[in-house]
C-alpha cells in the first residue's frame, strides 16, 4: 500500500516537473532536445507494445511512421484538412496497413520476421519514391508555414510542440499500463516467452499479435504526423527511414524490453549521449553517433539483456533483501 502511494506521489512530481520544464527552460535548443527525447520515447513505447511484450522484433516500424506522416500531409496539402484530423486518419491508415503486412510477416518467426518487416518498410519507401504523381516522389514537399495556427498543428513557440508530444507519450504510457494490467498483457508476455506453449494453453496467438500490431502501428503513425509537422518537410527517405525503425527498437532494448518505462529511460540515455557527442564534436557526427549507439546496444545485450530497467530492478531487489535480512533475524526466536 505504502509502495503504491509512493509511486503515485513520484508520478505527480514527475508530471509537474515535465509540465513546468518549458516554462523554466527558455532555450529553444534545449526544448528541441526535450521534444526529440519525448518523441523517440513515444515511438519506443509504441514499438515496445509489440516488440517488448510479445517479443515480435520488428525493424520495420518506419512503415507506419511514414504512412501516418504521408496520410496527414496528403490530406493537408490536397484538401486543406487539419493535421490534427490527419494524425488520427494516418493512424487508421497505418492500422489498416498493418493487417496485410502482418499477415505476410507473421508467417515467419524470429529473425526472419525481423527481416520481413525491414523489407516491407523498404518496399514502401521505394513505392513512394517511384510513384511521383501520387506523393511528390523523391523531391518531397515542404509543409506551408502558417505562423501560429494551433488548429493546423502549427505553433510559434517550441514549447507548444513539447506539450503535444508530451501528451502523445502520456497516451502511449497509459495504453501500455492498461494493457500490462489486463489479460491482454499476460497473453502478450506468454506469446513472447513461447508462442507454441501459449497456443497450447488456449491463447489465440495470431489474433493477439494482429491486434497489438495494429495498436502499435496506430501509435507509431501518430508520431509520424507529429514529426513531419515539427520539421515542416517530408520525403520518402525521411518518412520511411530505417533509422526510425532502428531507434524505436534500440531505445526499448537499451531501456528495458517489455517494461513500461524502459523506452523512456533508453531514450534519455541515448539522446543525452548523442547530444553530448554533438556538442563535443560539432554537428558532423553521423558516423560517431551510430557507432556509439551500436556499442551501447552490444554492451547491453552482452551484459544487461534486461536493459537499464532490469539493472535498476536488480539493485532495488538486492537492497530490499538486505533490509529484510536483519528484520527477519529479529523476529526469529
Amino acid at each position: 500500500m505504502q509502495g503504491s502511494s509512493l509511486k503515485i506521489a513520484a508520478l505527480v512530481v514527475l508530471a509537474i516537473v515535465l509540465l513546468a520544464l518549458p516554462q523554466v527552460v527558455e532555450s529553444s535548443f534545449a526544448i528541441d532536445i526535450f521534444v526529440r527525447i519525448l518523441l523517440f520515447s513515444f515511438i519506443g513505447v509504441a514499438w515496445n507494445l509489440m516488440g517488448g511484450y510479445a517479443k515480435q522484433l520488428s525493424l520495420g516500424h518506419a512503415a507506419y511512421f511514414g504512412l501516418g506522416a504521408y496520410t496527414s500531409t496528403l490530406m493537408q496539402i490536397n484538401y486543406g484538412i487539419s493535421p490534427w484530423i490527419g494524425m488520427v486518419a494516418g493512424g487508421v491508415v497505418a492500422a489498416a496497413a498493418s493487417l496485410p503486412i502482418g499477415w505476410l510477416c507473421f508467417r515467419l518467426r524470429g529473425p526472419y520476421f525481423t527481416i520481413a518487416t525491414i523489407a516491407t518498410a523498404q518496399a514502401l519507401m521505394l513505392i513512394f519514391l517511384k510513384f511521383r504523381d501520387f506523393a511528390w516522389g523523391a523531391e518531397g514537399i515542404t509543409i506551408p508555414i502558417l505562423g501560429n495556427a494551433p488548429l493546423m498543428l502549427q505553433f510559434e513557440s517550441k514549447a507548444a510542440y513539447y506539450y503535444v508530444v508530451l501528451g502523445l507519450l502520456a497516451l502511449g504510457l497509459l495504453i501500455t499500463y492498461k494493457i500490462e494490467q489486463s489479460w491482454m498483457g499476460y497473453y502478450l508476455v506468454a506469446i513472447g516467452e513461447d508462442e507454441d506453449a501459449a497456443e497450447a494453453i488456449g491463447v489465440n496467438a495470431p489474433r493477439i499479435k494482429r491486434d497489438v500490431y495494429m495498436l502499435s502501428a496506430f501509435l507509431t503513425a501518430l508520431a509520424g504526423t507529429f514529426y513531419v509537422q515539427y520539421i515542416y518537410f517530408i520525403d520518402p527517405p525521411t518518412a520511411f527511414s530505417l533509422n526510425i525503425s532502428i531507434e524505436a527498437a534500440l531505445v526499448a532494448i537499451v531501456g528495458g524490453i517489455g517494461t513500461l518505462w524502459g523506452p523512456v529511460i533508453g531514450t534519455l540515455l541515448l539522446e543525452t549521449t548523442s547530444t553530448l557527442l554533438q556538442s563535443w564534436l560539432g554537428s558532423n557526427t553521423g558516423g560517431i553517433q551510430l557507432t556509439v549507439y551500436a556499442l551501447i546496444l552490444m554492451a547491453v545485450i552482452l551484459w544487461r539483456p534486461n536493459g537499464l530497467m532490469g539493472f535498476v530492478n536488480e539493485l532495488l531487489q538486492r537492497r530490499r533483501e538486505q533490509q529484510q535480512k536483519p528484520a527477519r533475524a529479529r523476529t526469529a526466536p
Binding site: 517479443k55 526472419y112 525481423t114 518496399a123 553517433q289 545485450i301 552482452l302
Partner: protein, 289 residues
C-alpha cells in the same frame, strides 16, 4: 527483343553469382549456428575495402587478393563467433538478432568514420574487357567473378559432403544434441562455419571490386538480396540459396530492363512478398522456423 531478354538474363546470372556467395554464407550460418547474421553485408564491404587498399597501395590484383581477403575474413569470423555470438546462443531470439544487428551498425559506421562516404573504384586491365557472343555482351570481370563464385560454392558443397569436418557441420545443424553425443565439439564446428561464411563474403568483396564501387553502405544492397534469396531457397539450404540467388539476379536484371532503372529492388521485394504469401517454406519445401 529476344536479344534484350537474353542480355538481361546474362547480366542477372552474372551478378546472381555474387549474391549466391553472400546468401550461401547467410544460410550456412543459419543452418549450423542457428542465427541470422545481419552483419553479413558489412563483411562483404570489408572484403571490398581490403581489396581496394591492396590494389591501391601494393598493386595487388583483386583476383590475387582473394587469397588475402578470404583468410582474413575467415579469422575474423572465428573471432566474432568465439567472442560475441557464442555468448548469445540459446532459445531467446532477441539478443541474437540485435547483437549481429549492432555489429552491422558498428562496422558500417566505423567504415563511414574511417573511409568517409566516398565511392572507391579500381581499374584493372580486365575491368572494361568483354566477350561478344553473337549480339550478346559478356563483361570479362563479371564472368570471372561468376566462375570463381560458382567454383567456391561447389568447393563448399564438396567440403560439406565429403570431409569429416563438413559432415560434422551438417550433423551439428541437423541434430545438435546428438552431434555432441557423437563427440562433435559444437563450438569448433560453429567457429569454422562462421569463418567459412565470412570467407565467402570476403570472396564476394574481392570479386566485386573490379566492376563495383566500395562505400560504407554497399553491404546493405547485398545482404537484403541474400536474405530474400535465403527465404526463397528455404532457410538453411545451401543449394536452395544458390539457385534462388541466381533467380533473383535475373529477376532484378529483368526488372531494371523492363520496368526502369530504379525498379530492380521493387521486383525483388515483390518476389519476396509473393514467396511469403504463397510459399513461405521456400522453393525447397521443408519447414519454416
Amino acid at each position: 527483343m529476344l536479344e534484350t531478354v537474353a542480355q538481361a538474363v546474362i547480366n542477372g546470372l552474372l551478378i546472381g553469382g555474387i549474391y549466391a556467395l553472400v546468401s550461401i554464407g547467410v544460410t550456412l550460418i543459419f543452418g549450423v549456428v542457428k542465427i541470422v547474421n545481419f552483419a553479413q553485408g558489412e563483411f562483404v564491404m570489408i572484403g571490398m575495402y581490403i581489396t581496394f587498399f591492396l590494389f591501391n597501395y601494393l598493386g595487388i590484383d583483386p583476383l590475387l587478393s582473394l587469397f588475402i581477403s578470404m583468410p582474413v575474413l575467415f579469422v575474423i569470423g572465428m573471432l566474432v563467433q568465439h567472442f560475441l555470438i557464442r555468448r548469445v546462443l540459446g532459445p531467446n531470439d532477441m539478443p541474437q538478432i540485435f547483437l549481429t544487428f549492432a555489429l552491422s551498425l558498428l562496422l558500417l559506421n566505423l567504415a563511414l568514420l574511417l573511409f568517409s562516404a566516398d565511392y572507391r573504384t579500381i581499374h584493372t586491365s580486365y575491368s572494361d574487357a568483354a566477350f561478344h557472343l553473337g549480339g550478346l555482351y559478356v563483361p570479362e570481370a563479371k564472368l570471372i567473378a561468376f566462375v570463381v563464385a560458382m567454383a567456391l560454392s561447389g568447393a563448399l558443397w564438396i567440403f560439406l559432403r565429403t570431409t569429416d569436418l563438413g559432415k560434422a557441420m551438417r550433423a551439428a545443424s541437423q541434430k545438435p544434441d546428438v552431434a555432441v553425443l557423437m563427440g562433435i565439439n559444437p563450438n569448433r564446428v560453429f567457429a569454422v562455419a562462421f569463418g567459412a561464411a565470412l570467407a565467402l563474403a570476403g570472396a564476394a568483396g574481392s570479386l566485386l571490386m573490379p566492376f563495383y564501387s566500395a562505400y560504407p553502405f554497399v553491404g546493405q544492397v547485398f545482404v537484403l538480396m541474400a536474405f530474400v534469396a535465403v527465404v526463397l531457397g528455404t532457410l538453411g539450404n545451401v543449394v536452395g540459396a544458390l539457385v534462388a540467388s541466381l533467380m533473383m539476379g535475373v529477376a532484378e536484371s529483368l526488372g531494371i530492363q523492363f520496368v526502369g532503372a530504379d525498379s530492380g529492388l521493387i521486383v525483388v521485394f515483390a518476389m519476396f512478398l509473393l514467396t511469403l504469401a504463397f510459399k513461405p517454406t521456400g522453393l525447397g519445401g521443408g519447414r519454416v522456423r
